[in-house]
């Protein structure tokens, strides 16, 4: 039976804190994970508790333990013993704080919260008084103001005495404490006196708490703003809803003793109770489900059997190296007790295969030969020289990380639902994704609370639609641009609040694919609640928290491109030219040719503007070049100033050098430039003699992008170790700079290989199965960087003709007519319902429509849908032209016995520009000419995208087109990239920060632009350096939507 890896850690004992006994312990504090109630991160609370020399502290978030793990981690680091608890919203509005005493109590708290959450809609929770007794074991209840005198209570049926008696009956006398809070408020003692009397009457202990809502007094401002957001009001109107003072912060032992001078036992009781609360999240007793194996087998032996069977399938001859690798891996897996985990993932992969769902393991699992033999990953780690330790090592805490890529949409959902089916609603859940206040959302909510005019907030949203841009404008200038004068009396409050609220949790979402499962009820380890998506249950912790607690997660990630590829392969099979991705040639010249020309619209990963700008320089010639290409355009390598050295070395313009000769074997494949996480770990091992443990710590810091502190700590260690080994200071700096840049986005080589397989596969399909590829791409929209309009134009440039939607021929999906022709499906028609289209196809299968009247009679589509079909030409099969069909669809239907004569249409045919406009209005794409072609004659000075390669570098040119992409990469120091599409292709412009600020609104709002600037041509990558921008306003210009600032 595998033991939870987290269980191996040290557990705090009360003896550890014996020296601090009788100090005040805060036993009632809430963090920002109480969602719109607390004003501080759990980490800030832990830090302040440590500053105040508090030996222990309890975190009680509202209706959950959302912040408990983060709090526990931070508190332990600060030498503060974390105590777990929660505030429960009761059915009548009362708030009951409960503290966890032991593991049974924790299990009960999770069970109670799960029960209360799952019967409520998302975001709501209401515990019934009657169910408390069932879950009371191991919990301590606090009876205070919020229980006896609830402010929002909708029932006053109980007196405080009744309430106390009820809780004593449920929890037991020794587990109920009377909670007294003092916040320097007039009238507070009128509430506290009866509570003291109540304690005396029932012989209950009194407990002093401060009902903490923020770490430091300044947190009160955030708490007030949260009150406004919660109550849908603003600070000027909130009145007495706001707090009276800033006293709900963490207070020292001295401050609290002074406050409770008349009740010293209330202070003493806090440490006495804290001593009793021994539960630690470090050992929640989680067990991964065991896998049922055939009789006569243990999980170990069964895994061994199927791995060796898989090895014979995967390798034509199992070499000694492979044998050695497999033996080593199997031994370690067995030693760490993980065979069940591998078997379960293998089982999920088998389920996918059996149900025709394409699946591919990604991430560090690709470093494992066992995963390769089990069919989990497509990468052979032995031939690719991948490091198994990156995936699994003896010193590694936590479960190995196996992520499965699945086709997005229904196929992935079927796998998720299968896991729910197997493990039950309480046995499996998606991990949470905490949505935080950032950029526009923070500024907007703060602006509303400060009662700024809606016009300022709207303008701010438009100007900064694309998130946080600190590169060129600080926050004050941003809000000034939105119309708030610099000297506005509330400007300082806005700035302070923005900084304080940035990153605080806003609400809980669900992670895109992370699922956690367990042997028993998962709800015994973490509270579960409903997600907004029907049929989905989400845990209260995010994936990092789950990983820290040793709860195993399987990432079932949806990739649009996998869906495209699976669809395309199915189409190939149906059309009699099947293709097996596993066996396509890895050295196809035509595939590399389109990559070298950056002709990669629609290709996985390497279709972005930044990738396209690198491809002609990189000129991939083999599969490993694609792996590097995938990895090279990442915040990590760019921040580390690593891209250009690699390309320069590759082109022979710069000599290949190494930080140190010892690194040659590690960095040889990447010409001396560290590009992969594995290389970082190896550098640390070689240059700093990092042990497996330390390398593991480095790995965690590299992939743990939420903690700068963690990264800094490792960096200090690394520097010291290298100094001890007498590494030159300049080399140390270089190595550290490369490593810290990875903290933002570590990219393991194995991951890059997995992605490169998809990139190469999709490029191969684009070249050799173009019609199937484009049809599938259109059927899986929205996805990727480009809109259907751009994809259709790209198809046409590759000789694939697109036929229009036709009610006599189209199906819901776009279909392949021939190797060079794709028929648009009904899925591209705006507003046409799927079920109506299916009904249409069913009717047509019964019998072809013989006339428009026949069609109208037999297919129940709405008038609007009918109009759209006529307008885009789908009814042209019954009439001479689109307007003739539009004329006919407006006729009322009569069930006359005698046939009526219908007049022929007096309407004129649409001209080309009208057709293009109608296409965009009804489908967001056109198979006719590009709108720019219609305008070309009127723009004699504007260069076509295709001609730009001939322009002299430095020459001043004008380009114009439909804005299909605006990007402002965080690493580009405020530069903006704009892609303009015309009838010949895509032209790219670069806008410097000054020009961007001058034309900000025009750039973000206009769909067609004319850009004037100077030509920059570097290794066949043409960029126009923008000087001037004008909107290209014309009534004929209807374009597709842009893919912005992703």
């Amino acid at each position: 039976m595998p033991m939870s890896p987290a269980g191996k850690s040290t557990v705090f004992t009360t003896d550890d804190f014996a020296s601090c006994a009788m100090s005040y312990v805060e036993l009632h504090a809430g963090s920002a994970f109480s969602f719109l109630r607390g004003g501080s991160f759990p980490e800030q609370l832990a830090e302040t508790a440590a500053e105040l020399e508090m030996p222990a502290m309890a975190l009680l978030d509202r209706d959950g333990v959302y912040g408990s793990q983060r709090f526990a981690m931070a508190a332990r680091e600060q030498n503060v013993r974390p105590i777990t608890g929660a505030e429960l919203t009761m059915e009548d509005g009362a708030i009951l704080p409960v503290l966890v005493e032991n593991r049974a109590g924790y299990k009960n708290l999770c069970g109670l919260l799960t029960q209360a959450h799952l019967r409520s809609e998302k975001g709501k929770c209401s515990v019934q008084w009657s169910e408390l007794a069932e879950f009371a074991d191991g919990l301590v209840a606090l009876v205070g103001e919020a229980v006896c005198f609830p402010r929002d209570a909708n029932s006053v049926a109980y007196s405080s005495e009744n309430r106390a008696q009820f809780l004593i009956d449920a929890f037991g006398c020794e587990n109920v404490f009377v909670e007294i809070q003092r916040h320097f408020l007039r009238g507070k003692e009128r509430i506290n006196r009866p509570l003291v009397d109540l304690a005396a009457h029932y012989r209950l202990s009194i407990l002093a708490t401060n009902g903490v809502q923020y770490a430091k007094p300044s947190g009160r401002q955030v708490a007030d703003v949260f009150t406004c957001i919660r109550e849908h009001t603003h600070l000027d109107a909130a009145g007495k809803l706001l707090t009276q003072n800033a006293e709900r912060h963490l207070k020292s032992d001295r401050e609290m003793r002074e406050l409770f001078r008349d009740l010293p036992e209330a202070i003493e009781n806090t440490s006495r109770l804290a001593e009793r609360l021994t539960f630690s999240l470090e050992n929640i007793g989680y067990e991964f489900p065991s896998f049922p194996v055939p009789s006569g087998h243990s999980m170990d032996s069964f895994l061994r059997t199927i791995v060796w069977f898989g090895a014979q399938q995967r390798y034509t001859a199992v070499s000694a190296a492979v044998k050695r690798q497999l033996e080593e891996e199997l031994a370690l897996i067995s030693k760490l007790g993980f065979p069940g985990y591998f078997l379960i993932v293998w089982d999920i992969v088998n389920f996918c295969r059996e149900h025709d769902v394409m699946v591919q393991g990604r991430g560090s699992a690709a470093n494992s030969a066992v995963c390769y033999c089990l069919g989990i990953t497509p990468v052979d780690p032995v031939s690719n020289h991948l490091v198994f330790e990156r995936f699994l090592s003896e010193s590694r805490k936590g479960w190995p990380d196996i992520d499965l890529d699945l086709p997005s949409g229904d196929r992935r959902e079927s796998v998720i639902q299968e896991i729910y089916r197997r493990y039950g609603k309480h046995g499996a859940a998606m991990t949470a994704n905490v949505i935080t206040y950032r950029g526009r959302s923070a500024a907007r909510e703060i602006g509303k609370a400060l009662n700024f005019s809606p016009s300022i907030l709207d303008r701010f949203s438009h100007l900064f639609a694309s998130g946080d841009f600190p590169h060129t404008l600080d926050l004050q200038s941003q809000i000034e641009q939105a119309g708030l004068p610099k000297e506005h009396p509330r400007m300082p409050a806005f700035i302070d609040l923005y900084q304080a609220m940035y990153g605080l949790p806003r609400h809980l979402g669900q992670h895109s694919g992370g699922m956690i499962i367990c042997q028993d009820k998962l709800s015994s380890f973490v509270p579960l609640e409903n997600a907004s998506m029907p049929g989905r249950v989400v845990a209260q912790w995010d994936k990092d928290d789950c990983e820290d607690l040793g709860i195993v997660k399987v990432d079932l990630l949806g990739l649009g491109m996998m869906s495209v590829m699976q669809d395309a392969l199915e189409l190939c099979r149906e059309r009699g030219r099947p293709l097996d991705l596993a066996h396509i040639p890895k050295d196809d010249a035509a595939t590399f040719e389109i990559m070298q020309k950056a002709d990669t619209i629609g290709v996985f990963q390497i279709e972005s503007r930044a990738q396209m700008a690198t491809l002609p320089r990189m000129k991939p010639k083999c599969f490993y070049d694609v792996v590097i290409e995938v990895a090279i355009i990442r915040p990590g390598p760019i921040q580390g100033d690593m891209v250009h050295p690699y390309l320069a070395r590759r082109a022979g313009r710069e000599p290949v050098t190494y930080f140190d000769p010892r690194l040659k074997p590690i960095l040889g494949r990447t010409l001396g430039v560290p590009l992969f996480q594995e290389q970082m770990l190896k550098i640390a091992m070689v240059m700093a003699d990092f042990s497996g443990d330390e390398a593991e710590e480095l790995r965690r810091a590299l992939s743990f992008h939420r903690s700068e502190v963690r990264m800094n700590k490792v960096s200090v260690k690394l520097r010291a170790a290298m100094q001890r080994k007498n590494v030159a200071p300049a080399v140390i700096d270089k190595i550290l700079q490369s490593i810290t840049s990875f903290a933002l986005y570590g990219f393991p080589e194995s991951h890059a290989i997995s992605f490169a397989i998809l990139a190469y596969g999709s490029a191969y399909l684009k070249v050799h199965r173009a019609s199937e590829f484009y049809a599938s791409l259109l059927n899986n929209q929205p996805m990727g960087f480009y809109t259907p309009a751009t994809i259709v134009k790209d198809a046409s440039r590759h000789g694939v003709k697109t036929q229009p939607v036709c009610v006599q021929r189209s199906t819901w999906n776009c279909a392949v007519v021939s190797d060079e022709t794709v028929r648009l499906g009904f899925c591209v028609v705006n507003g046409l319902r799927h079920e109506h289209a299916d009904e249409l196809v069913r009717q047509r299968q019964d019998r072809q429509f013989d006339s428009l009247d026949d069609f109208k009679r037999r297919v129940a589509v709405s008038k609007e849908e009918l109009r759209a079909l006529a307008e885009l030409g789908a009814l042209n099969c019954f009439t001479d032209h689109r307007r003739a069909a539009m004329w006919r669809v407006e006729e009322a239907m009569h069930d006359d016995l005698l046939a009526r004569s219908t007049s022929s249409s007096p309407l004129k045919r649409m001209n080309i520009s009208e057709r293009v406009q109608a296409d965009y209005e009804t489908m967001n794409l056109t198979i006719g000419p590009h709108p720019m072609k219609l305008l070309r004659e009127r723009l004699p000075n504007v260069w076509r995208a295709i001609d730009l390669a001939q322009a002299q570098p430095g020459a001043s040119v004008q380009i114009a087109g439909n804005v299909i992409c605006r990007q402002r990469p965080g690493t580009a120091k405020g530069f903006v990239f704009i892609s303009l599409e015309d009838e010949t292709g895509v032209a790219n412009a670069i806008v410097d920060p000054d020009v961007f600020e001058r034309f900000r609104l025009m750039i973000t709002e206009e769909s067609f632009l004319l850009i004037e600037g100077d030509v920059q041509n570097s290794e066949n990558v043409v960029l126009i350096k923008t000087r001037d921008i004008r909107p290209l306003a014309h009534e004929q210009l209807v374009g597709s939507e842009s893919h912005d600032f992703h």
């Binding site: 408020l185 009145g239 800033a246 004329w887």
Partner: protein
């Protein structure tokens, strides 16, 4: 009679279809067949088509532009004293009153606009409690306001606009008393505002805030609103507030009051409760913060006092 809103929506729908049909002119529309229009676009479209054909007859309705009761004047020279303004305003009022009388209307509101040489404008709206055309009365209202009017820049133009209404006799309830002379009241209020400033005249309203005794003034309105429900009686001794609060000197020992001296109450402090801390409006310049104490003085007097950024003040004494 068709509902005009429905008709407008219907016309919009028809126009949108015609636009997509490529029918952009009245001529194109008129050229279509009536039966076809009827079958496809319905009766409203037929009505439009008949109009386009010139077949339907419709009586022209005389729509008169609304009468303007506004007068304005640009001075040839910049004005720096009140007399030329008053002279022009009296003339404006006479003109406006004549025009209003001619059509049996009275003024219910006057808007005065003054333009300065830097192109900035000052605008003031006078609500007339009992709508009237009495030039003297209206003039007095303007005069009172302008008596204390000051500006940094000379005046280059002036305008006056009256909002007309029908003279309506007011019927009061049996036990309600009417103001004997609303105009007089209004004028008195205007004089007070001119004398004290607009933020110091009106009806005090208690603010919904934690700041003790906070209130603001709302414009005085003569109405007969029913009395609000009586506030719940508060427990504890009643506080007799000093308004304004009285300045005091307090001797502190370890940050706690020991002795109090003021013009109204003084003495050594025998018992104390507090501090009660309150603060608010942290988000703008009106931020405030205070620490309140309840003190028992030696003669047995109970007082409430507070300390804020301006020092110690006594809020009142308890009964």
């Amino acid at each position: 009679m068709p509902d005009p809103r429905k008709t407008a929506g219907e016309v919009g729908r028809i126009m949108s279809i015609l636009h997509k049909w490529g029918v952009h002119t009245v001529g194109d529309f008129a050229a279509l067949d009536r039966k076809d229009i009827s079958a496809r676009l319905g009766p409203e479209a037929v009505r439009l088509w008949e109009r386009a054909q010139g077949k339907s007859m419709r009586l022209l309705k005389l729509i008169e532009p609304p009468e303007s009761f506004a007068e304005s004047f640009e001075f040839e020279h910049e004005v720096e004293t009140i007399d030329p303004l008053l002279f022009m305003l009296r003339r404006f009022l006479e003109q406006i009153a004549i025009r209003l009388q001619a059509i049996y209307l009275v003024a219910q509101e006057l808007t005065l606009r003054i333009t300065f040489d830097n192109r900035e404008q000052y605008e003031r709206c006078f609500s007339i409690p009992q709508p009237t055309n009495d030039v003297d009365l209206l003039f007095r209202m303007l005069h009172t306001h302008l008596e204390n009017f000051q500006s940094e820049h000379p005046i280059i133009a002036i305008a006056l606009e009256a909002k007309p209404t029908k003279p309506a006799p007011q019927q009061f309830g049996l036990f309600e008393t009417a103001l004997r002379n609303p105009a007089q009241l209004s004028e008195t209020l205007a004089r007070l505002v001119a004398l004290l400033g607009s933020n110091r005249v009106g009806t005090p309203v208690v603010e919904e805030t934690h700041r003790p005794d906070a209130f603001h003034l709302e414009p005085f309105a003569w109405n007969f609103s029913p009395p609000s429900t009586p506030a719940e009686p508060k427990s504890g001794a009643a506080l007799r507030r000093f308004r304004p609060a009285t300045n005091a000197s307090v001797l502190l020992e370890q940050n706690k009051p020991l002795h109090l001296r003021s013009a109204k109450v003084s003495g050594a402090i025998s018992k104390k409760n507090g501090p009660y801390l309150a603060s608010g409006n942290w988000w703008d310049v009106q931020t405030w913060s205070r620490a309140e104490w309840d003190l028992e003085l030696n003669p047995g007097e109970l007082v409430r006092c507070h300390a804020d950024e301006s020092g110690w003040q006594i809020d009142g004494v308890y009964d």
